[in-house]
């Protein structure tokens, strides 16, 4: 077990193969649930890259997710070939992240968070108000064939590939000089600047990477749901991945994976059986945050390390 914690690549590869086999074997219901889960994992991981490694807490990550949705949905509706439309979604998100990011990284900490929030709310409002283009609150539906004509299983495998690809990109970046620099700036911007790194430039690059991955997640979500609504760029979609990141555990690569599984699993099960599921979720969120600041991944790691002492 210890090897899995110490060599995330091995763990990741195993997880990928396992997930692929599960998807191949899963029935329709689980296929649906897992597809959604995988998209959320990618979305949460992109936010985690910002928070845990780049030291930037965004309250408005939904902007790029939502723009991914609309970029895809609008271009598909306009008759662009699907294969191109799925590229346009992330591109729109990346473009927006580049612009918003350039403004946001000028600020630190809570002010950064608040500006990301403002950017997301502006995006949401524009989507909500621009009826002629976006359909306003009625959103967009029926712009692309269900599951992109790949069938539920094919689409699930595509999502898995994108999710794994996204995680791999994050991993590669983190292992490259760029990742080292991003982590440095995230940990101690003053020191990093004294070494010669431009805090803003580095943060901007990280912001754009996170934004484009969120855009990929958004595009997939839109294709999966078969719709696009302004909500997807709204506050709820900014908070949800934040809760996942915290539940999973700050500062870890696999945290968001666990966090998304826990959050989606819990709300899914709870809201099915209990009327007041939000109350229970609230208690869970508070308990985990207070008693296990490193989240569920921290707990798992502790258990594994206890079971197989190092060496």
């Amino acid at each position: 077990m210890n090897i899995l914690v110490r060599h995330p690549v091995v763990a990741g590869a195993l997880a990928f193969v396992a997930s692929a086999s599960i998807l191949v074997l899963a029935n329709d219901v689980w296929l649906m649930r897992l597809t959604e889960l995988l998209i959320w994992i990618l979305f949460a991981a992109s936010l985690n890259f910002l928070i845990s490694f780049s030291g930037m807490v965004s309250f408005g990550h939904a902007a790029y997710f939502g723009l991914g949705c609309y970029g895809f949905a609008l271009s598909a509706k306009a008759g662009v070939p699907i294969i191109v439309a799925v590229m346009i979604g992330p591109l729109v998100a990346t473009f927006a992240a580049a612009i918003y990011g350039a403004l946001c990284v000028r600020l630190n900490k809570i002010y950064f968070a608040m500006l990301t929030l403002a950017c997301a709310e502006i995006t949401y409002s524009v989507i909500h108000q621009w009826y002629d283009l976006t359909g306003g609150d009625t959103g967009l539906t029926q712009f692309a064939p269900p599951s992109l004509d790949l069938g539920a299983r094919g689409f699930a495998l595509l999502v898995l590939a994108c999710c794994a690809g996204g995680l791999l990109v994050i991993r590669l970046v983190l292992n490259a000089p760029l990742g080292l620099v991003i982590r440095s700036v995230g940990e101690n911007p003053g020191r990093a600047a004294a070494l010669g790194f431009s805090q803003r430039q580095v943060q901007w690059v990280a912001f754009v990477i996170a934004g484009s991955l969120a855009g990929v997640a958004g595009t997939l979500y839109s294709a999966f749901q078969g719709n696009a609504f302004p909500d997807y760029a709204g506050m709820r979609f900014s908070l949800a991945p934040l809760v996942m990141v915290i539940l999973g555990g700050l500062g870890s690569f696999f945290g968001p994976v666990i966090g998304a599984i826990v959050e989606k699993g819990l709300t899914g099960v709870l809201s099915h059986y209990v009327v007041f599921w939000e109350l229970i979720m609230g208690v869970v969120v508070i308990t985990v945050t207070v008693y296990s600041p490193h989240g569920f991944w921290g707990l798992i790691k502790r258990v594994i390390n206890k079971g197989a002492p190092r060496g």
Binding site: I51, V57, L103, R106, L107, N108, K109, I110, Y111, A113, M114, L115, L117, A118, C119, E121, I122, S125, V126, H128, Q129, M235, L239, L242, V243, I246, L250, F276, W277, E278, L279, M281, G282, V283, V284, V285, I286, T289, V290, P293
Partner: protein, 286 residues
């Protein structure tokens, strides 16, 4: 018409400040972005609904007592939340503190649904304060003017407390530098609890005052919190005077905006917030 809208805007602005003041106070001292502030507002409104029929109903005095009681109980709930939960994570990252307050939002919403249900509830404006003042052909509701008066009173009281009392000195010290309080030989925990309770008190009172104006339901929390954030951020996090100015500005801008840009209400406030932050970023270094 412009003048009328400015007055209406000011009335709304003072109300906004009532909500935002607690939020900015809490942030200033304990650096907590309290998402649950709207939930405390909502609690204050529901408690006012609950007490109003039992405390001298219809009278001014009864209403004031009701709102104060609602505020105090809200403050108590806030203090409990601070002591039981928040206190354990002051040393942790700001993000964790924020998430805890998000958890609180979820809990409070369901608690309210359990106790009061999902339907819209209402409490009446006290008879003494119903009616309106007519100027020209324009009407200004007495209740709204009254709330503006109470709001201004709160502003003065807050200002006096911060400016002249020992508590105020501590608050200012703590807002400038969290470590300072410890140096002053005061138990930091008391200050944080006190501030959180006061912030919740303000939220509860604001909720109580807003209760007769509209329907009271479990969605009030989200309705309120966005506006409060806008005010606090535009006013400069932690600054009471800034929040006051920002609240009035937003209120007036919204009211005047209805005249000239009837469809832009939603986006304007956030655009202002973004501009304020961006301008700030250019002045930040040095």
């Amino acid at each position: 018409m412009l003048f009328v809208q400015i007055v209406n805007g000011l009335m709304e602005g003072v109300m906004l400040f009532m909500v935002a003041s607690g939020l900015t106070l809490i942030f200033g001292v304990s650096r907590i972005v309290n998402f649950a502030h709207g939930s405390f507002f909502m609690l204050g409104a529901f408690l006012t609904y609950q007490f109003a029929p039992h405390i001298l109903p219809g009278t001014m005095l009864g209403f004031v007592l009701t709102v104060i009681m609602a505020g105090m109980l809200t403050a108590f709930v806030g203090a409990c939340f601070e002591v039981i939960v928040l206190r354990r994570i002051y040393h942790a990252e700001e993000l964790l503190q924020l998430i805890v307050t998000v958890g609180m939002v979820m809990i409070m919403r369901d608690v309210v649904r359990v106790v009061w249900g999902m339907n819209d509830l209402a409490t009446a404006i006290p008879d003494a304060m119903s009616g309106a003042v007519n100027v020209d052909s324009y009407w200004f509701p007495i209740y709204n003017l009254g709330v503006m008066g109470i709001g201004l009173l709160v502003v003065v009281v807050l200002w006096a407390v911060v400016r002249f009392t020992r508590v105020g000195v501590l608050l200012r010290a703590a807002t400038d530098d969290r470590g300072m309080v410890a140096l002053l030989g005061i138990n930091q925990a008391y200050i944080f609890t006190g501030v959180f309770a006061s912030g919740s008190l303000l939220a509860g009172i604001a909720g109580g005052l807003a209760a007769p104006l509209g329907s009271i339901n479990f969605l009030l929390d989200t309705t309120v919190i966005t506006g409060a954030f806008l005010v606090v951020v535009i006013g400069g996090l932690g600054s009471l005077s800034g929040a006051f100015a920002a609240a009035l500005a937003i209120g007036v801008l919204k009211a005047v905006g209805v005249l000239y840009f009837p469809r832009a209400a939603m986006v304007t406030a956030f655009v202002i917030m973004a501009i304020v932050l961006i301008v700030r970023s250019f002045k930040a270094r040095g």
